[in-house]
Symmetry: C2
């Protein structure tokens, strides 16, 4: 498809169903937001017992500047019925599933309050250029603070509905199942957990005696990261890291660093622990769930000083 | 440096020390060999207890066509004293170490019998082109069957010696230390162990019921791979995989495949086990060593049929 002729409808429980063209979108008021996108399965490989799915370690996260139009701006054109409860966004991607017969399009919904948040945008640029194909060209929904499954790529259609959407990527996948063999207590994956990653030094690396900079990132899906504490003795004692915060970028990760003078040879277990403005602290052990979502236990890096 | 003027000496315990130019090398009889290069630390991350070093899983291995001149051809120009025991190859790369003061060049030796083997070559092409810089441009030693630390990049100098080379990359690194806290039983890393990797399906992936192709590679550092057996029940029963062998390429890996009809839902632990022509079989548990070299336990992949 050429973007010149690309368009998508907003329909369903609205006053004026309408088709928006790509060109119209470019002409509407835009905003550019730096947003962390973290896969709900980031760090899945760290769960014990193992969980099935892509064995992500720390790498299923990124951040970028996304430019687009608030979804709420578009919904002002169509209006939304009083009975509306959710906004359903359908992507062009489709495929089979291992657990059901047939093929399925990727479709997800947002509760109305999140769909109407001014920072929930229909993006057409990533880092100042048209969105690369694999990241959702030509249009992608961006939902700050939610795990990235909410940010539907390759938008095909938007539908406002009066009930609760029940597609498999909403009710089967991206659901926390607390138990291995039954579905008791299942609840949907939404906002990101308070989390941090040690980027330097590398796990199980060997360092010389002397000064070393421990550094990394921290992020959260509600409020902002307010503190990162570091332990070099496997959690017995903690000291605060320095944060590079930028209040103009509430949806970006925070870089942190900690100066360590490693005097004695030996093996050390370094830990980082982020706290957000809602008081959510990374736990010592992540809450296990069958599909391996939302891992956010303390980040652990072992090093040897020799 | 420009390759047109590049040259390196062969000196030490030889009759006629000599400088070889890159141009001379190109004019000498060449051979092209498909060679597996496997890092001695490949699969290090799978050792229990953990070992320090780059946390490789299955990816620290590759194969390519290398074109060059047999080292033994060059040594015919210089001659080798009767007292000679080893050939020392020095690279241009240099740097600090965490365990010793000072900077060190990367230098390794080969025993005379391996240096004189006609398939030990000074290579100047990788896959039909000049060797890319990161792979050793302009000249790299290639030592088939040995772990890749032997294949010295960026050759600077070759020296024939009458004794045993003692550089840190020979006597400290690339040494098997069987014990955590003492050096009893230490011995050098040389040839690759009999090994295999399951490439498909991915570990902890979910598959539908029905037919699946399990496939992967197998390789060894002595003789050739003669069999790969597969278990789909965590080692209780084994069946042979089909091998795609090519006797004209004794130093390449062997591709293998196994058709599996997965009838029953559930979790399965797939294992692959290679055997080489010297009767070396992959063990259930790899021989632990402090620096995490030579991991070759059975390759394990868990899948869920749903």
């Amino acid at each position: 498809m050429t973007t010149h002729f690309f368009c998508f409808p907003i329909e369903g429980s609205v006053y004026v169903p309408r088709i928006f063209t790509y060109q119209e979108l470019l002409a509407l008021p835009s905003k550019t937001i730096k947003i962390v996108l973290e896969c709900a399965g980031n760090k899945r490989a760290l769960f014990h017992p193992n969980t099935y799915g892509e064995q992500w370690k720390e790498g299923a996260i990124g951040q970028a500047y996304w430019k687009g139009v608030s979804l709420t701006t578009l919904l002002q054109y169509t209006g939304v019925h009083h009975s509306a409860r959710e906004v359903v966004v359908e992507g062009y991607d489709t495929g089979p599933r291992t657990d059901m017969e047939g093929t399925f399009r990727y479709v997800r919904s947002l509760p109305l309050h999140k769909a109407l948040h001014p920072d929930t945008i229909i993006a057409y640029e990533l880092n100042g250029r048209p969105i690369p194909y694999k990241h959702g060209y030509p249009l992608r929904l961006l939902v700050p603070q939610w795990y990235a499954m909410a940010s539907v790529k390759w938008i095909k259609k938007i539908t406002v509905i009066d009930d609760t959407f029940q597609g498999p990527f909403q009710t089967t996948d991206y659901v926390y199942y607390p138990h291995k063999n039954n579905d008791v207590g299942k609840h949907p994956v939404t906002t990101m957990n308070s989390n941090s990653t040690i980027q330097q030094p590398l796990h199980l690396s060997t360092l010389s005696q002397g000064a070393h900079l421990i550094k990394g990132i921290a992020w959260t899906g509600e409020g902002t990261t307010t503190a990162v504490d570091i332990s070099i003795d496997n959690g017995h004692t903690w000291l605060p890291a320095s944060l590079q915060q930028n209040s103009a970028e509430p949806y970006s990760w925070v870089r942190w660093s900690f100066r360590w003078h490693a005097e004695k040879k030996g093996e050390y277990t370094l830990l980082s622990r982020a706290t957000d403005s809602l008081g959510r602290v990374q736990p010592p052990i992540a809450v296990w769930n069958r599909k391996g979502y939302g891992y956010n236990a303390l980040c652990m890096t072992k090093v040897k000083i020799e």
